[in-house]
Symmetry: D2
Subunit: 340 residues, 4 copies
């Protein structure tokens, strides 16, 4: 591996800038050679900060650059599929932010294009790379907790997004729960067969007014008999709450939250610790670095990407089933949405 | 309150002996004057240990003793209703172990008899008196965590009971979850409208062979919009697991398990603490004392009992709805079982 | 063991009443037949509450009662030695609150009288019976943490006592640290050879004005090479702070504080738990019951008492060495105080 | 700040390479233009990895390069003073690894040279930049815990260094405790007046054979009356143990260890978590980055360095006083070593 991967970044929004910084400063094996964004000023600022030589308005300039090995797709969700397919056609490896699309047909088109082209294609489910959840995965895989019986995921945001964001988010299940759907598949290593949802609008009435929900419990039944729940809320005043527990025949393993420091303070009213890391970029900073390192590594060494195309599709199916379950107040099988 | 409550205990099994010891040694305001059990030797041994003057084979000897103010019903479940009704007819106050009955008609008969007689009638849901769950109740009531959104109960036993016990237990929902049904009603202070169950036999096939389940997740929807889950398993190798969490608009409160000591030990493999209290009688010893103190106090001072007849009925209805939900794999409203 | 130990209690102050309640309600093998106190009204109230038949003003009435097997000495410290010696002369077993005396000559007189008479003599170092510290003792004894290198004790009170109490307390080292001196001997199972003290008056100037200290760190060197520290303060606003840590060749074990409940609450400012148990009688209630059970048991079964006369003497020697070290700002050997 | 600081690194050992990576990949405002090491191969490998253009055998080539603004001194301890003085004479700012020297005369020479030249001079006490200890510092400074009374530092290494290292280390107090001496000064914000040491050889006899100690408790008395202890050991089997507690008039604050993940696993033997971060480079990685960022920032913006020359001198004085206290078994005032 005596050469560096040449990368182009498409999209200089929040997540594009995050990947740019990691690729520039934390991942010696990669080199960002170009960044593109229709708001070219954003791309320019990011390029300045990260020492990226080329800045484009049109992402096709990246796709057409023969020196670029791989693209990082951080554009708006509704362009992910199109850009990925175009990249595949030009033989460029793709790291694509989640979700691939909110449309199953489009996702299948992407998966077909990827397969036909033979490129590496990784979907940005970064939480798999978090040290807490990796430790849980290891406990399940290694048999430390025996046969898994039950998985619980608690995943609550510190603040709801703007109503504008909510409107175009695809709904809580495709926007927020999608990460947790990926998490339960990753940890249990099997597919969910059926979901049942109770949900409501508790945090902000305006979220309900645009047809979405802000609080939900999703009950899961896996093909192998494991059961589980996902607890989502758009607002937890005490910060970003990201916990997972797996209970099995030989024990239990639980991930607690991460904190900015490990101090505890006592006073007349009791003992206190500061709130957990509040912002997802702080909380998952290392997992973002790690997923990108593994992508770079998979491309350079012709290895397997850790999160493939099918991993991008199934959580979308789960999100659709969840919404259907809520709408019809009954358990819904994933096979009602599509065959997998 | 310058007199002591004169109490008779019916049933000298495990739980009867527990109450006898507490009444004798921990509750100065009560005096156990008699204990009855068809296995009279059991009653005699308990009487010897606790200094109880009278021992009977037939519990009617207690009911007919005019000096006895109150009876503690610790006989087999299928006799609870009959004995309570007979006690009510004789004007004796009753503390009755849970459940009142597995038959809704019988429960209604008990509730009617109690109402007609005007006796105090308390049902033995001891966990309400546990200091952890009381603290959570207080947080919910006082508004410390704002409006509650979600409640989670984890309630796992260290070991399954014998298959003989399972056969006559009424099933996991009436035998085990019933405590958790009471807990969620107590803490949220509102009624559950609908339940949905996923469940299975994961611990011991023989439990399935007799028609019961050993592992379950019960999803709850309250009338006030609160959602919740109960996680039950008959066997957690790491001990008795009794946790509750309530999440609300202003925060969250979680009860962790209780341990025999608060030491933590570090060695080459990491940091360790001994398993939590394993046996329910150790774990809930103080809550058993406390519920009995409150009963004695309510009778002596003509106060309100903390857990009344309706609190004995509704968890049975919830258990029936849970089984129906499992059998039919759909959410079931409590009103499908009976009107409350 | 088919008979109960007949006990008389001398002193109906706070600690006498505590032992009376435990003997009456928690220890079936004992029977309190008399209680004496010059403030006879105190003794009478306690007798009423605990069902003690005889009440005396003069403790000699207890010593002269041939039916009484054992006395519990809870009178003021300066009478402990005299009463114990008189009890020994009458062949009555003695449980004596700590300290035996502040005068080494008097202590030796007690030890001689006890030896001559052959009575059981237990000193009231109740903390040895606490489940946390017992677990640490077990870890040291069993080799779980290998050879011990270092012991740390943190022992801070929630509130300083009254200045009147301080004046007659014998000073912080004989009044407060004495418990910790006992604890380090108990856990390490060897004797301290030398102590060094830094201390000051930080909490309340009036404590300094009467010649005492309120905050201190005592450094310890054991004969077997183990080192340690004791951290004492008369006032910790967050409650009663009672921690011990032992570090050794194979690991470390630490006891955390005990809390009234195990709930943790999160809000915008972070995560919180209620203060630890604040009052020593709550914190050590079970250890008080336990030490008395073991005393009763040792007498009834002619066993060995768990805390003997020499255990009452050495902590006093350590307290004297500590004060000398503070006064002269140098390490002081226990052998400078007396030979042991 | 539109220019980057041009830095030369002297010494390509473990700590030099660490700083090189941070400056190259984590600190955009700096640019490493050269690295020097007599083992030039080491320097070359590091330069390759970090993209450093120039590699020298002789550090004078760095000092003589007029384009270099600042040097990072990571050479062997006995060269720190000489190189720093030479750098000062050439007007190059210096970040110098701790300790400046083991010779007080040399340290004073450095301090004089720094003062005369007007360069920025920062000493590498990285732990001040750790988020746990910063939080404690903030609690003390802000008055959150009131007036500090007592500080405890526990600082135990996972493994002793090689005997060769021990021989030239300057002894435990100058090599290991020196970090803790810096920590207590930093947190309390006042100077220690007197120290007293108990210590021994418990981990490895060979450490004793070369005249050093491996386990120690250092008792501290500050000028402002605060007391404290430092607990050091060269080997804690459970990993790197780095804790600090400060107790004051309004509360207490304690830093616990940092762990590779926040999961807890339960099985039949209890609850477990993996050992804390074992290696100082993992444990303090962020604090190393942070100290260097602050140095770069101080130079670029002509600000004050956070750890100055006097902060490099006083811990050495404390280490000498500690050794003298051990040798003479008595408390030793820092003023016995030198006036500060």
């Amino acid at each position: 591996m005596n050469r560096r991967l040449k990368v182009g970044i498409i999209g200089a929004g929040r997540i594009g800038r995050l990947h740019a910084e990691h690729l520039a400063f934390r991942i010696p094996d990669a080199e960002v050679v170009a960044i593109a964004d229709p708001f070219v000023e954003n791309a320019r600022r990011c390029a300045g900060r990260c020492g990226i030589p080329k800045v484009f308005e049109d992402y096709h300039d990246i796709l057409n650059d023969p020196k670029i090995d791989a693209v990082i797709v951080c554009s708006p969700t509704d362009t992910h599929a199109k850009i990925t397919i175009e990249s595949a056609e030009r033989g460029k490896h793709v790291f694509c932010e989640k979700p691939i699309s909110h449309d199953l047909k489009e996702i299948d088109d992407v998966l077909n294009a990827v397969e036909k082209s033979g490129i590496k294609f990784q979907v940005g489910f970064n939480r798999r790379f978090d040290s807490n959840f990796r430790r849980i995965k290891k406990a399940v895989e290694s048999g430390e907790i025996g046969d898994p019986y039950i998985i619980h995921v608690i995943s609550r945001d510190p603040e709801p997004p703007s109503i504008d964001y909510v409107k175009s988010s695809g709904g809580i299940f495709l926007d927020m729960t999608i990460h947790d759907f990926d998490m339960v598949r990753y940890i249990i290593g099997d597919e969910v067969e059926e979901v049942y949802v109770v949900a409501g609008v508790m945090v902000d009435e305006r979220i309900g007014e645009v047809g979405d929900l802000d609080t939900a419990i999703i009950t899961l039944r896996f093909r192998n008999g494991v059961m589980g729940t996902i607890d989502n809320c758009r607002k937890a005043v005490y910060g970003y709450d990201q916990r997972v527990e797996v209970f099995g025949s030989k024990g239990v393993i639980s991930a607690q939250n991460n904190y900015p420091n490990n101090t505890v303070r006592g006073d007349e009213t009791g003992f206190h610790r500061d709130p957990p890391l509040r912002f997802f970029m702080e909380r998952y900073i290392e997992s973002y670095v790690e997923e990108m390192k593994e992508f770079v590594n998979a491309v350079l060494n012709d290895g397997q990407v850790p999160v493939g195309g099918i991993d991008g599709k199934i959580p979308v199916v789960m999100g659709m089933a969840a919404r259907k379950s809520y709408d019809e107040n009954r358990p819904v099988k994933l096979s009602e949405i599509c065959s997998i």
